[in-house]
Symmetry: C2
Subunit: 356 residues, 2 copies
């Protein structure tokens, strides 16, 4: 399905550098939009500032309004580290994860590419000449993220605390299907399941069986399996081997930060929280946080936010527009090299390239 | 407590390269033993070969015998990848994890050092001039490794599979205390708790509170906290910042493979499965697997197995003997550079240095 005409976009700039990077992302989205597509933006002030001012995290009425949009663009949320006025995890769970769960964003899509000119912490020997270009399809609505579990005798020497990872055939199959569909569309057509089947036997078994089952419908996709611990080694010594990675919510959280790090920092990592069934708006956001220490100084790199708009356009059925943004970012990164530029300069430069 | 006189050592060489690397480790242990200390070895054939020949993984009688020893040296266990005659995870859970759990090895100790001369996948810019020298204290008897959880309606579209991470004040406090004691003995006296407190709130809370509580008794230890995803970034961009890391069983599994990779490969990574209360034998093993593809060819690097004997001697109260092994390995690594040497050559060379 291709979105045309006015697209209703909910914009949640959030806190800290979220504001600045979102402004640049919108600049680029504007010029990249295909003819006939316009974005009707509604801004939602959500995040640490809103919470500190009103005690609200995500009121139900706001969630209902957001639900009526075609897509969501989010900057970053989070207050100052260890701010005693914000209970730890409150914004993460009450806002970010609540949006992912309520809007059934079961595909958390995180592409990784080492762009030419970008500094990776990996050595030249590891990087070699082959491209690093893979995408992690992280399950977004199950696993250890469901909030199941609890605690008994808290604060006593007899305390027991549990966390329950919940995995359903329903939830695993749909995300595995999505990952195979993506692998089909990529030149190398490779899919790697990452899990810990030798220890997490029940969850591992459902992931393993459904991956095998869906694989049978995709004979042209090469499938392999890797334990999450072994994936650490491959990711740092041979990242070129990955094409599409499919994994659970927690392993996906961990491996995508590693992927971001080796691809030159999460300042470049974009992500989509996608409901492929399109019954709710999908949400696009940089992987990085709100970085309050450098907020408002125009030193944050808006590249991840800009690349998130490419994922957004792709999701709305405009892959050519998405590719134009990616190409512009690529050219911009190659040009800027190690020079530090202001947030708005990066946005302007990418927007100019996209415009033509 | 210092072990003197005859030390009863259970040796489990295991499968594949486990045999070869254990032989070299024993060679070095022999010459490194302080005056008056002798090792009385009992060999136990356990692993894939035993299972294929007899159907046994770890008979209760064997476990009882092993229990009567002072320490265990293990090579590696595991058959050929995807051997259909070995149920996946059987040896891991039935042998390795069973030993850790039955013998209450609550401290899984994994030191990481980038030795001079060793090739790290990290760039020269990241490595800089500062030493990378840290130790991960991984909890070994709780977390998602307890085998709690289950599955309902397996193989149907309505399947639900759960994995339960179990965390107790009892289990967390004792490993946190051990980690602080280790931090006290190190020059930098730094401890980093790694968890995912913003999502795994119940487990995260008990880890966080007990770390704070024990920290209050160690005012000279600097304490910080890092989410497991953020730890991926720090480990690949600034590994020098770590000194002692304390974390749960699964996060510890993941982060130590990453640590092994950046320190030049798990061919060099040693580990101890320790019961600091000394009511049962502790077990020392290389982090690597049995690598059946290169077994019996004398090409496996026995360094990790050799370094495991240093951890063993240290645990038995002989830190000077342990240091002699480490120094010998260090000198050997610097000398061999990128030259490939046979398994026995490495053992001989290290043993010679230790002896002389
Ligand atoms: C903020 C946090 C809850 C979140 C997660 O764990 O998913 C973040 O780390 C991410 O990867 O988007
Ligand atoms: C083999 C496996 C069960 C084990 C673990 O997960 O602990 C291994 O990866 C390790 O780190 O020792």
């Amino acid at each position: 399905p291709v979105a045309t005409g006015p697209v209703k976009l909910a914009v949640i700039p959030g806190d800290g550098i979220g504001q600045e990077v979102t402004a640049e992302a919108l600049k680029v989205l504007e010029v990249a939009s295909p003819a006939g597509v316009t974005f009707e933006q509604t801004r939602y002030d959500l995040g640490a500032e809103r919470y500190l001012a009103t005690g609200e995290v995500l009121p139900d009425t706001v969630l209902s309004e957001i639900r009526e949009h075609d897509a969501i663009l989010l900057g970053a949320v989070g207050g100052k580290p260890n701010d005693p006025s914000i209970p730890p995890g409150l914004l993460e769970r009450g806002l970010l994860l609540r949006l992912r769960f309520e809007l059934d964003h079961y595909v958390n899509l995180r592409p990784s590419r080492i762009f030419p000119g970008v500094t990776s912490p990996l050595s030249r020997e590891v990087l070699g000449d082959d491209e690093v270009d893979f995408v992690v399809v992280r399950e977004g609505t199950e696993g250890p993220y469901t909030g199941n579990g609890g605690a008994l005798r808290v604060g006593t020497p007899a305390e027991v605390a549990t966390e329950v990872s919940v995995n359903t055939a329903y939830g695993v199959e749909r995300v595995v299907r999505d990952a195979f569909a993506r692998a089909e569309r990529r030149p190398r057509k490779k899919l790697t399941l990452v899990h810990k089947t030798n220890v997490l036997v029940h969850a591992g078994s459902v992931w393993w069986r459904l991956t095998q089952a869906v694989a049978a419908e995709h004979p042209d996709v090469t499938v392999d399996y890797m334990h999450i611990d072994a994936a650490m080694i491959h990711m740092t010594t041979n990242p070129q081997r990955f094409d599409v990675v499919v994994t659970d919510n927690l392993f996906g959280d961990i491996i995508t930060d590693l992927a971001g790090a080796i691809s030159g920092g999460i300042g470049l990592a974009a992500s989509g929280n996608i409901n492929p069934d399109r019954t709710t708006p999908s949400m696009f956001e940089p992987v990085h946080g709100s970085a309050p220490d450098i907020a408002g100084q125009q030193v944050a790199d808006p590249t991840a936010a800009i690349l998130s708009t490419a994922l957004l356009l792709d999701h709305l059925g405009h892959p050519e527009a998405a590719a134009r943004i990616e190409d512009a970012v690529l050219a911009d990164l190659a040009e800027r090299g190690t020079a530090r530029r202001r947030t708005a300069e990066v946005g302007d430069s990418v927007a100019k390239r996209v415009a033509g």
